[in-house]
């Protein structure tokens, strides 16, 4: 089993130096997701201005895969139009399900997480931030 496929350099970099992470207090976050299997916990806050997602802030208590995925996601969606974000979310989740993603070239660095699909027990770690984002979008732009 090759763990280098799972823990790629770009993933480790985001894990060690997460982007858009902040301490979010109770009630400050838009969504609060927990993985009941492992206790990983993620809070997310963001705003919408001019059809774009802004001020993305994430509070993440999770493993390397979960933290890196959250950080990479925050980078990939910040200041992006909502319809592009929705497309990226769909592509990313398809990628992690092991299906070919329709708009792979749009995913950029996120493609580094494709190796997670080979570790079924870890897929949830990588998708949790995106499910939180989808929940946030439902509230921000119903």
């Amino acid at each position: 089993m090759q763990l280098d496929d799972l823990y790629q350099e770009v993933i480790l970099d985001h894990y060690r130096h997460p982007r858009h992470f902040a301490e979010l207090t109770e009630g400050e976050a838009l969504v609060d997701e927990e993985n009941p299997l492992c206790g990983d916990h993620l809070k997310l806050d963001a705003h919408v201005a001019d059809g774009k997602l802004t001020d993305v802030r994430i509070h993440c208590q999770g493993c390397a895969i979960c933290s890196a995925s959250a950080s990479m996601m925050a980078e990939a969606v910040s200041d992006q139009p909502l319809e592009i974000i929705r497309r990226k979310a769909a592509s990313f989740l398809a990628l992690l399900r092991g299906e070919g993603a329709a708009n792979e070239d749009e995913l950029g660095d996120l493609l580094a997480l494709r190796g997670v699909a080979e570790f079924p027990l870890r897929v949830k770690c990588a998708t949790m931030p995106w499910h939180a984002l989808e929940a946030a979008l439902k509230r921000l732009a119903p």
Partner: protein, 412 residues
């Protein structure tokens, strides 16, 4: 019993799964025994023999297979009664596991007899199995749930336990040993205190039955539950022991075939215990397999197993404790070989992933004990837990893996 010292590595040959070599050439190092254990050939053979030769239903027909099946099933009940010091096999109810046993008591006893204002006393080191059913039962009855706290060393706060044990407490639900901290609770003394205060006691033996001698008569336990799969037996089978007067007073959780005495159009009467609590076709092969598992454990002898596991646990605590940045949760003097730990700056999932690369099975997560982990101040821990076939080579493999994961993540 032989006078030879117990040899864990020789016993591995009894467990086919422990001979497994993965496609990458790694051998299995199985350190997740608190979740479930591997099964010896004797257990596999007993369940297989039932399916190949004696697969009739129990208590229902006169033909030979039914008679054989019934005989094997009831023999298993007798073996288990002897194993736990129960006065009669009639006090041994087969369940699908510890969880079901607790639910039978929560439903059939607690919900029937608790009054508004009564209390159930449990501890802050319970598995969710011995926690949620009481939460549900007290809220249905207008009663309250009390939690005796855990001290920093992982032992129960005995003073607080006594303070909380007021006359309102009708039931104490207590784990014999913690699946996170490894702590062995002094159940004999706690049962005496509870009885003196007028409370009944349920002992969760899910972690203790696989490792410690149990004697429900000497303990004077009102209820004891455990699971077969954590003590070398099959999954889907477990045991509820209860005193005869409790079994008589309780209502059944499941109703239907096999648990009735007489049935009329508009009502029915129940069979005598234990059948009263075994509605439907039971897990016959599982019960037979569990009988074979207790034979296997009894043959090796509790004293020899305990001595080996204590030595191995001491070795593991020393080796793990020497790793920089490693914190062990639970330092009770009386403990099982269940060791939960954190490695500074590393998430348990990532640790377990590296261990798995090396063929080592450990557990990572909240261990079905969120109230306890909240008190420990962590969302998740890593846990290594031993059984009779583990030895110092397994601990050494774990330590090597932990060093590797540290090196990997701390390199910049």
């Amino acid at each position: 019993m032989s006078a030879q010292p117990f040899d864990p590595r020789a016993r591995r040959a009894d467990f086919p799964a422990l001979g497994r070599v993965f496609s990458d050439g790694r051998r299995l190092v199985y350190l997740d025994n608190a979740a479930t254990t591997q099964k010896p050939r004797a257990v596999l053979a007993a369940t297989r023999r039932y399916y190949e030769e004696s697969a009739g239903n129990v208590h229902r027909a006169v033909h030979r297979l039914a008679a054989e099946a019934t005989g094997l099933y009831e023999d298993a009940r007798q073996k288990i009664a002897t194993f736990i010091g129960a006065p009669s096999p009639k006090t041994v109810v087969f369940t699908h596991g510890a969880t079901e046993g607790i639910n039978i008591v929560a439903h059939g006893w607690a919900r029937k007899f608790l009054q508004p204002g009564d209390a159930v006393l449990t501890t802050a080191m319970e598995h969710h199995s011995n926690f949620i059913p009481w939460q549900q039962a007290v809220s249905a009855r207008g009663a309250t749930l009390r939690l005796a706290p855990v001290l920093d060393d992982g032992t129960l706060d005995r003073d607080a336990f006594r303070r909380l044990l007021t006359p309102e407490v009708k039931l104490v639900a207590l784990t014999h040993a913690s699946n996170v901290l490894g702590t062995i609770n002094p159940v004999a003394e706690l049962i005496r205190e509870a009885h003196a205060a007028g409370a009944r006691v349920l002992v969760d033996g899910a972690q203790s039955a696989p490792h410690l001698p149990l004697d429900v008569a000497a303990l004077d336990a009102d209820f004891l539950v455990f699971s077969g799969h954590k003590m070398l037996g099959p999954t889907g089978i477990g045991v509820l022991f209860a005193k005869p007067e409790m079994l008589d007073a309780m209502d059944p959780l499941l109703t239907g075939g096999e648990m009735i005495s007489r049935v009329w159009d508009d009502h029915a009467t129940w069979a005598e215990p234990p059948q009263k609590f075994e509605a439907g076709t039971p897990h016959i092969a599982g019960a037979i397999g569990l009988g074979a598992a207790v034979d296997y454990l009894a043959h090796l002898g509790h004293a020899a197993l305990r001595q080996h596991e204590q030595k191995l646990t001491a070795y593991a605590l020393e080796q793990l404790g020497a790793l920089p940045g490693l914190k062990i949760f639970g330092r009770a003097p009386e403990r099982l070989g269940v060791i939960s730990f954190a490695l500074e700056g590393l998430h348990p999932h990532d640790i377990a992933q590296f261990c798995d690369r090396d063929g080592i099975a450990i557990r990572a997560g909240h261990m079905c004990a969120q109230p306890l982990l909240r008190r420990l101040g962590v969302p998740a821990v890593s846990r290594a837990s031993f059984h009779l076939y583990n030895d110092t080579d397994d601990v050494d493999a774990l330590v090597a893996s932990l060093l590797a994961v540290r090196k990997f993540f701390h390199a910049t």
